[in-house]
Symmetry: C2
Subunit: 102 residues, 2 copies
């Protein structure tokens, strides 16, 4: 599996707008096992996104999907930048979408 | 919802041992919506754990469960330390265990 943990910064006061776009565009994309969007309670403009995909190729392919391209275009004006991103190799756990747990 | 993103460091060469304990103890704990364990491909002893709980109380209560206490006791000798931890407030997404998505 392929994972991403990232922190993005919305333009001042635009966090809810960015999160609304992210939530609306998040669904059963091919190869997506988990995609969770979270506020940072200690940082008013920060958003954490944690993702799990079957593999890096699925993630890369998702960026070309029309609905994802549309979401990126819609959110971009409200995003100030990306402050942190790490790639991970998830091995299991609980709550992965297709039952690949443990 | 209540989330945690954390990076722990296993003692040199003990990452698989720690991950095995984490995976074995991860199941349908009360209030747990997601608990994903991942290797850091760029850091041989590092483990990322991303968690989503219904609320902070569920997470806190889980630490008192006998199976969780046993896992902590079993993993502790192989853990060198915790390098990063952030609390989050997840708002939605895809892949949360009980269907609280979107």
């Amino acid at each position: 599996m392929y994972g991403l943990i990232g922190k993005m910064r919305a333009s001042r006061g635009q966090r809810d707008a960015v999160m609304d776009v992210l939530r609306a565009s998040t669904g059963a994309l091919p190869g997506c096992l988990s995609y969770i969007i979270a506020r940072d309670p200690a940082d008013a403009d920060a958003i954490w996104v944690t993702e799990v995909w079957t593999d890096a190729e699925s993630h890369k392919a998702s960026l070309q999907l029309p609905e994802v391209q549309a979401a990126i275009a819609k959110a971009r004006p409200f995003i100030a930048g990306f402050e942190f991103q790490v790639e991970t190799h998830p091995v299991g756990g609980f709550g992965l979408a297709d039952g690949k747990t443990g």
